[in-house]
Symmetry: C2
Subunit: 414 residues, 2 copies
């Protein structure tokens, strides 16, 4: 398993030790307002920038888009954000006109309580689809939420955006850049319905670096391509997912630009945050017992490598074999054969970590099923497949398909 890239000289902290290390000029809070059935479960989060931040966003490509996705996508186009209000426990999706009004009301009540323009307030929701939001609880929850805003509130906020997640996903990176100390904080939620094609889950990344809005968008897009869009749990794609990147410039008045030497270390730190969050989501995959990297090498193009990797990562038969720790490589070959790309099965090599499994399309001559099984008994391992059709490669991170996944998802809405 390739670890998340960590550049030298950076100071990474996740979950526990977050106090006081958030990006300057940002505050956050998370409270329970009664959307979730469980008493005291946090379900309302607020992220606030003391000054207007530049913002970029990527949104679900699902044709069925939740009301908050529509509302936020429109506001992100203006490129300026002061606050983000998020609820969990209810997706406000497939809720029609009422859903749009409710998303608008969340924005306006938040803007009013903060005394800022509603055009600068974004909104996100996650949870069950098709039920109207309990607006009274949310509206009554916003003033106390605002009252709790603090530079130490990010852990609470990260908890308040969880649904079936078993733990909050949050990380900070600090990186010295040209005399300034820049901080990047990311939080995410997601444990199922994770799939590329979109901004794959809720992920909010805040930095006190100064970056123009027009440079924020391509940066976010590039980061998502190699991180959030390379993880998959069940191939389902949500109606609600979004990734937002906010930069308020509180740590530096000098804007960062892609053509200068300060850009690269910042970009590395940002992508490390995104990579960490993406991997955290897979590690918290619903009911998963394994984290598996599917690495396709020797492909004609990155796109073809991705196609094969995702086809394997989404095959229920492959995923159940991982769950069973069963070196049933025939299912991998069968899945590859339906990926819609051209290759010669008799040229394919497969490895589990560094153990040879398939050579030229058949069981490797010295294949040792005991050793193969040992690899699969680990919690994390890597399946490497060489197609021998070219020089491109791509990796995808996925989970197994367990009985527990089925149990979780058979009873989620009830």
């Amino acid at each position: 398993m390739t670890p998340a890239p960590v550049a030298a000289g950076r100071n990474t902290k996740s979950a526990a030790g977050l106090n006081g290390v958030g990006p300057r000029g940002f505050q956050a809070a998370g409270i329970a307002c009664g959307i979730k059935a469980a008493a005291g479960a946090k379900d309302l989060a607020l992220i606030y920038s003391e000054t207007p931040a530049h913002v970029a966003g990527l949104f679900t490509k699902n044709r069925v888009k939740a009301a908050p996705v529509l509302a936020t996508r429109q506001r992100v186009r203006r490129g300026i954000c002061r606050a983000l209000i998020v609820n969990s426990g209810n997706a406000n999706a497939c809720t029609g006109e009422r859903g749009l009004r409710d998303a608008g009301a969340m924005v306006h009540v938040t803007a009013g309580a903060l005394g800022i323009p509603p055009q600068q307030v974004l909104v996100a929701s996650t949870g069950v689809i098709g039920h109207p939001l309990p607006m009274k609880r949310i509206q009554e929850g916003i003033p106390p939420l605002v009252a709790r805003l603090s530079p130490d509130g990010f852990a609470d906020a990260a908890e308040a955006i969880m649904t079936t997640d078993t733990r909050p996903k949050i990380i900070t990176e600090r990186v010295p850049i040209g005399g300034d100390e820049i901080t990047i904080l990311g939080m995410a939620k997601g444990a199922g319905m994770i799939h590329p094609q979109l901004a794959t889950m809720l992920a909010f990344i805040m930095t006190d670096a100064s970056i123009e809005a027009k440079e924020l968008s391509p940066l976010l897009r590039e980061g998502v391509r190699s991180t959030f869009n390379r993880v998959t749990i069940d191939g389902d794609t949500s109606t609600n997912d979004m990734v937002l990147l906010l930069a308020n410039g509180a740590a530096s008045t000098r804007s960062l630009h892609p053509y200068e030497s300060r850009w690269r270390p910042f970009q590395d730190a940002l992508f490390a945050v995104m990579d960490h969050l993406a991997r955290s989501i897979v590690r918290d995959g619903e009911g998963r017992t394994k984290v598996v990297e599917i690495c396709i090498q020797g492909a004609k193009s990155v796109r073809e490598a991705e196609k094969v990797a995702f086809r394997i990562a989404h095959s229920p038969l492959v995923k159940t074999a991982f769950f069973g720790q069963d070196p049933n490589w025939g299912r991998i070959m069968a899945a590859m054969g339906t990926a819609g790309i051209t290759f010669n099965p008799h040229k394919v090599n497969i490895f589990f970590d560094d153990v040879a499994v398939v050579e030229e399309g058949i069981a490797a001559p010295e294949a040792d099923e005991g050793k193969q099984r040992q690899v699969l008994q680990q919690e994390e391992f890597k399946v490497t497949i060489d197609l021998h059709t070219g020089n491109a490669q791509a990796s995808v991170l996925t989970t197994d398909l367990s009985t527990e996944y089925v149990k979780i998802n058979a009873s989620y809405s009830t």
Copy 2:
């Protein structure tokens, strides 16, 4: 649930009462030769036509094709078949040159024992991928298998082609056609790795009608399109699947042609056999507790309707909700949104049987979750979705995704 179409005046028998009702001039046998680990489990089947039969076949579109698929596809092109030798317990897939030699040896030993040309012997295999066939057992099994050939042997043969199937799938239809009594017998195996794109499983259909080889192919293709290609369990596609249709003319010397009135009743009876087998496969889906028909109406084209239906049928989140008897229609909307077709979510209506669930994209005004739940508590039910984008429709039959499915597939090869 729409029952399989059964035309008036036909005489359908399945499983139990098969003795003596097979198509004239065909014999079959099934024995245990020791491929399967379980003592006495039948794993070698033979189907034999006393005279040369015309044959048509459809084969897996998986790029990774098993040796017997390659061998049989080539022979079917000649259009003539006398015998079909089939083993279960081992797929002879991803077995390289040796696999091709082994498939050839199965053909030649069978041809020798029957005293017929090897060009007229077809071969099929099903089971685990990537292991060489135990050829000694198979070669020693063929002479006693031939010795057991009998017009009453079809039930044994149907049992000998099973893998994870919990019961044999076999049916006969008799239909009077222009003074002749034509019999059609079909058998199939398959309980997982069932998916369209191919001949979806092993299915062998024998009739004593007289049909030209050139008319058999389009007939088989049309039948598969509306039956085997409309069922799906897990979206995985096998390396080994094939559907064969044999017609030996033993009941009639007058060939049937599509332009005459005798054709339609024959075609109806044939498609009823195929429909029955396809439904039997879904009903025997690995670990399934539900059989669900996904019916898409109001689509722009049949192809678009199929795309949406399969996207829903393959969504793990939708399938686990069915398992949980959970009227979580938001997952259906979310799956539809990623089917790659254009529609307006605010025009969508959804029904569970005849209970309104979604109207114009949101929860139906009078929605009664208790009634919805009652529908989902049945073993078989229908989900009807109106897209309001056109007049085309298509139905797909699928299963739920249960904890038992995961258990079966986590331990299959071991």
